[in-house]
């Protein structure tokens, strides 16, 4: 597993590493990115826009008896028109749309909102979706926070059940105008604090019928979960949980009990290495009971386990639940066309139960340690090669996600003998299906062909540390492991997701120097094949726009939430008189690669019209959490020079110096950024700072060496930052040094090649001990006058 830390938010302060470790151990972690994202180009399953609209015309009768015609078009658009008859409002209504749903509020209800009556009762879009329109329901289901007698005394209201101070009831639509009149008359007769209240009635709330979708949250804070809002007293009952293991014997449980309205009300654990039958006093409500049921305590590695999930257990009296592992099904995905080589299998299951209040329980996709604890992780080392889980139904309250990860590696799961790997992600989503033995066809795999290089060095390279991947799902991310100590050279890895349109992949290589090189985050389609080159040539500043949400791993689970993996911030842009530049860690030959490098030296200076304007001293670059440089720009067009000297701690013998010059003014054209990219200050437009970037494209051996005494093409690419148009009118020269930059050759003009790169021929001297390293310098300029001078000492080595 690779662990690296990058940007949490463009403006988040740096976190102390020690605190971070502690936070991860305690699973606090960094907060989700604070930056406001641009419009999400990848709709998720939260808003009405993603629901299949109930197209057509419906009639809806409200709590007050007022009747409306609701027309819903193919895109979910809702048109509402009043029908004659019904309530006492006399045609006076308030209508508004929030979250894609239309609310129609009769005037007699207005004083009761936020106090006594749940605004969601007037969400006509939801009432149609919940099949509570007049065509499909003659009543409205409600919860009346009152004693049974008071609830039954309400006009049109029939109580079906009552506990304590809450009654489950229905309002008969035909008789609802009487309830509307009561509201109007009570309002007219009320004074002071009594306005908006009904005597004896605390609240009337919408009760979503069984099988109906979860109603969207009310726009009014006062309509939050009733018990909290009302200050009412919840009743406490005993919840007893027992289990039966897969072999029919009494089980041992590791898991949790969670109140799905709000985990703060009750969340309890069955602790490692497992517990038997256990009781808890819990407040009335609905609970998710999730446990790995083992045949013996987890310290016994021979114990068999199954994940048993009862995501919605209603507790309204003393309740006993038995988690029966015998109902679990085996998780065992396979390849339709497996390779000849033996496959080493490693699997894990992720499930996350989220309460309506937002607290989460379970094993997140990247919760490796949590997976070990819950025994939802399986590989030959754990002694538990098979995973089992009980099927579930979609939950009605809160959220639930389930994911299976299967990792297959040819011959070995690490080391030079490791062949191709297969990273299979089964993003099942809101329920555990009844069958978990999918077969993945070859045509469904995406192939990632990569070439791994070692870093130039006098010593023999130990070889790459890893070649891993991150996968981002709408509900979490994971470091899909495998790939430790791969051999340098060519390899192929396959990836697969059941949701390719919602899954982003980011490949990673940890070089032999332990520098972690990160690739782009992108979707990979079934059958797609891509080629990647890693760790070729010396480091130069990355041209990649910085990802706003970083992947931050910890022992207890994800230290960061990444729900917008595609969200980037402009690398170098101007807003007003402020230039914001992310000195994004270094790229290799791929301009959009980046790294998280600790530095041996780093110095950044900034000049305006030839005068030093900003000197960051040695603190110009912070590994892991790079903060943007805030460059003071003139409120008029001016000439600028930015210089960055850098040497990484892992490879300090090969320092880099980048010197940019450019001209910028406050009236520069606004940057045409994709919707997935924001300016540093996301609410205002920005313009690009015209920085040029050089990335080497050298023909080196796998140990980053070239033949001495032979002709050689110094090839490189000159580009702009990501998302900016390619530079035009580029001219470049190349200089070479064989004495670590003390002396340089005369500049040689580089010629453009068909593939957009530049090249300059040189001839290497014969190998000798003092002349074994090659240093490179490129001076490039674009037609707009911007220039870059990129110097890399000890860029590569000559082979003896």
């Amino acid at each position: 597993m690779t662990i690296h830390h990058r940007l949490g938010s463009p403006r988040l302060p740096r976190l102390a590493t020690a605190g971070l470790v502690l936070a991860l151990a305690l699973a606090a972690g960094a907060a989700p990115a604070a930056a406001a994202p641009p419009l999400d180009p990848t709709p998720h399953a939260a808003g009405p826009a993603t629901r299949a609209p109930e197209t057509g015309t419906s009639t809806v009768t409200l709590l007050t008896g007022d009747r409306f015609q609701v027309d819903i078009d193919e895109r979910g658009g809702q048109q509402v028109s009043r029908l004659p008859g019904g309530g006492p409002a006399g045609g006076t209504f308030s209508q508004f749309t929030i979250g894609g749903d239309t609310y129609v509020v009769p005037s007699e209800v207005v004083p009761y909102l936020g106090k006594t009556i749940d605004l969601r009762l007037f969400n006509v879009g939801y009432l149609v979706r919940a099949k509570l329109d007049d065509e499909r329901s003659a009543t409205l289901p409600v919860t009346v926070r009152a004693g049974r007698a008071q609830a039954e005394a309400l006009p049109a209201t029939s109580v079906t059940a009552a506990t304590g101070n809450a009654a489950t009831a229905t309002v008969t639509k035909k008789e609802a105008p009487a309830l509307g009149r009561l509201l109007a008359e009570t309002w007219r007769g009320a004074k002071g604090d009594a306005v908006g209240t009904l005597p004896g009635i605390e609240r009337i709330e919408l009760a979503a019928p069984k099988g109906a979708p979860e109603p969207p949250p009310s726009p009014l804070a006062a309509d939050a979960p009733a018990a909290k809002a009302s200050g009412g007293e919840l009743s406490y009952y005993m919840l007893t949980v027992d289990s039966i293991a897969r072999d029919g014997t009494p089980g041992t449980m590791i898991g949790a009990v969670q109140n799905v309205s709000d985990g703060a009300l009750a969340t309890f654990a069955f602790t490692y290495p497992g517990e038997g039958k256990k009781s808890f006093m819990v407040p009335e409500g609905t609970y998710s009971i999730m446990a790995s049921v083992l045949t013996a305590p987890a310290t016994d590695l021979t114990s068999e386990t199954a994940l048993v999930i009862e995501p919605e257990v209603r507790v309204g009296a003393d309740t006993s639940v038995v988690l029966d592992a015998r109902k679990a099904v085996r998780y065992r995905p396979t390849l339709a066309s497996p390779p000849q080589a033996p496959l080493i299998r490693s699997e894990s299951l992720s499930f996350v139960r989220t309460s309506a209040a937002g607290d989460e329980t379970g094993v997140s996709p990247s919760g490796l340690i949590a997976g070990f604890t819950w025994r939802t992780y399986s590989d030959p080392v754990t002694g538990s090669p098979d995973l089992y889980v009980t099927p579930t139904r979609p939950v009605r309250k809160g959220d639930f996600t389930f994911t299976g990860f299967t990792l297959l590696a040819e011959n070995a799961d690490s080391g030079p003998e490791m062949g191709a790997t297969y990273k299979l992600v089964f993003a099942y989503g809101d329920a555990v299906p009844g069958r978990l033995t999918p077969v993945v066809r070859k045509s469904e795999l995406a192939a990632v062909r990569s070439t791994l290089y070692n870093t130039a060095s006098d010593a023999a390279s130990p070889g790459p540390v890893s070649r891993a991947s991150f996968v981002f799902l709408p509900w979490g991310w994971s470091d899909v492991s495998h790939g430790f100590l791969p051999a340098a050279g060519e390899r192929v890895d396959y990836v697969y997701s059941t949701r390719p349109d919602e899954t982003y992949w980011q490949h990673v290589m940890a070089a032999d120097t332990n520098e972690v090189i990160l690739g782009e985050r992108r979707k990979l389609r079934p059958g797609q094949e891509i080629r990647e080159v890693w760790n070729l040539g010396p480091r130069t500043p990355s041209a990649a726009a910085t990802y706003v949400q970083e992947t931050l791993l910890g022992v207890g689970g994800p230290g960061s939430r990444v729900d917008k993996p595609w969200l980037q911030v402009c690398l170098a842009c101007r807003q007003g008189s402020l230039g914001t530049v992310y000195l994004n860690g270094f790229a290799d030959s791929a301009p959009l690669h980046s790294t998280s490098e600790a530095y041996a030296t780093s110095r950044t200076t900034f000049y305006r019209d030839g005068k030093l304007a900003f000197d960051l001293g040695t603190g110009g670059y912070t590994p892991y959490l790079p903060m943007p440089l805030s460059l003071p720009l003139a409120p008029r067009p001016a000439d600028y020079r930015l210089v960055w000297d850098f040497a990484s701690r892992a490879n300090s013998q090969s320092p880099s110096r980048t010197e940019w010059t450019f001209r910028s003014g406050p009236r520069d054209a606004a940057a045409a950024l994709p919707r997935t990219v924001q300016c540093a200050e996301s609410t205002r437009p920005c313009s690009f700072l015209p920085l040029l970037f050089v990335h080497w494209n050298l023909s080196l051996g796998l140990d980053s060496r070239a033949r001495a005494g032979q002709p050689f093409e110094v090839a490189f690419r000159v580009s702009r930052q990501e998302h900016q148009a390619r530079p035009t009118g580029v001219r470049a020269t190349v200089e070479v040094s064989y004495d670590d930059g003390r002396t340089w050759s005369a500049p040689k003009t580089a010629t453009p090649r068909r593939d957009g790169t530049f090249s300059a021929p040189i001839t290497h001297p014969e190998y000798s001990e003092p002349v074994r390293w090659v240093s490179l310098r490129v001076k490039a300029g674009a037609g707009d006058g911007s220039t870059v001078t990129q110097t890399n000492i000890r860029a590569y080595r000559l082979a003896s």
């Binding site: 991860l24 151990a25 305690l26 699973a27 606090a28 972690g29 979960p225 018990a227 909290k228 009302s230 200050g231 009412g232 007293e233 919840l234 009743s235 406490y236 009952y237 005993m238 919840l239 590791i254 898991g255 949790a256 009990v257 969670q258 709000d262 985990g263 703060a264 009300l265 009750a266 969340t267 309890f268 654990a269 069955f270 602790t271 490692y272 009781s279 808890f280 006093m281 819990v282 407040p283 996350v352 937002g358 607290d359 989460e360 329980t361 379970g362 094993v363 997140s364 919760g367 340690i369 949590a370 604890t373 819950w374 910890g554 022992v555 207890g556 689970g557 994800p558």
Partner: protein
Amino acid sequence: MRTRRWTKLGGVVATLLTTITPLTLLTPSAAAASIGAASIGAAAAAPPATSPACPKDAKDTGPATCLLRAGTGGGDQPLPRVTAGRGPLTAGDLQEAYRLPSDWLGGGQSVAVVTPYDNPEAGDELAEYRKANGMPPCDADFPCFKKINQRGGDTPPAPSPAWAVHSSVGLQLAAAACPNCKLLLVQADDPSLASMAAAVDQAAAQGATAVVPMWGVAEYDGQNALAAHFDHAPTTVVAPSGAGFNSGGRQILPTAYPSVIAVGGTQLYRDPATTRGWNESAWRDTASGCSMYAPRPAWQPAGACGSRRTVADVAAVASSDTPVQVYSTSLGGWGTAAGTPVAAAFIAGVYGLAGTDSAVPAGKRLYAASPYLNDIIAGSNGACGGGKICTAVRGYDGPSGMGTPNGTGAF
């Protein structure tokens, strides 16, 4: 172990890996290092921080739930008073805050403190506390301290420095409420509930007016078999309510037994702006909740727990933010204490001070005596949907029960 709120999945891991929290007894040097400047008598600083005062190793804790917290820092001298009455609270502070006629009452009464294992220094520590707080010494003229084992004999059980603070705190807080009471230390063989029960029986047999075990054991199915050992009217058994709201989804024993007066914790500090002169609210870490197996006593109002017993009944100061002053060799001399055992020991002293010889159960008297209690109406110890089982409100509530002593009339 109840987790207050799990917003991150790793919290689950932490909880899953938790069996019983390792408890650490602060050594004077370690504590002094940790509290830093706070211990150097800075007048504006907070009292020394407290830490769990129980064995570090779970196997030495046994079935016990560690409820007591202690802090060091005073050495040979009582800790200086810090900002505007925020403690550490002395015996005089407590008597004033709770309007106790401690100089006048309590003669002839005895209060028993039950702790596991032997504290050889308990008598000397009590003497130091009494001296510093202006109480008469326990000597031949006023033989006010006695130590026995759970069988009533003089042979002490094995000593345990890790548990020793419990007896120090228990005796001194009982004395703080009732300087004129005789104090009986009954040292149980171990922290098991069975040994506690035997020690409580012994205390009652010795004629104690009130008895207070200083620790607790989690509720379990079958606990009613020992219930009779904690029902010794007219001896009143009081016990700490525990730590945290609905901790682990259950309560602790013996406090959950209906016959026991469950004592919750408050935060108390001097506040001249109030009529009382003291500001008191429910302590965020005090315990409350529903017993899993004990029925609701007739005198307790039905609430969230329905037919089950609700913890707590009454309260007194226990907050680690407003700790009490104590003297213990284990703390290197003068230090601070917090936790509901502090409150329970103090309330046991109040029962001794009241010296009521009534056939009416102590609980029934308590619930009918609201005029003699400070109603605690602020503070909460957890999330319960805003209910009074975890929120201090007017009248009865879980964290503070019926309130805190306002004189001895309720006891």
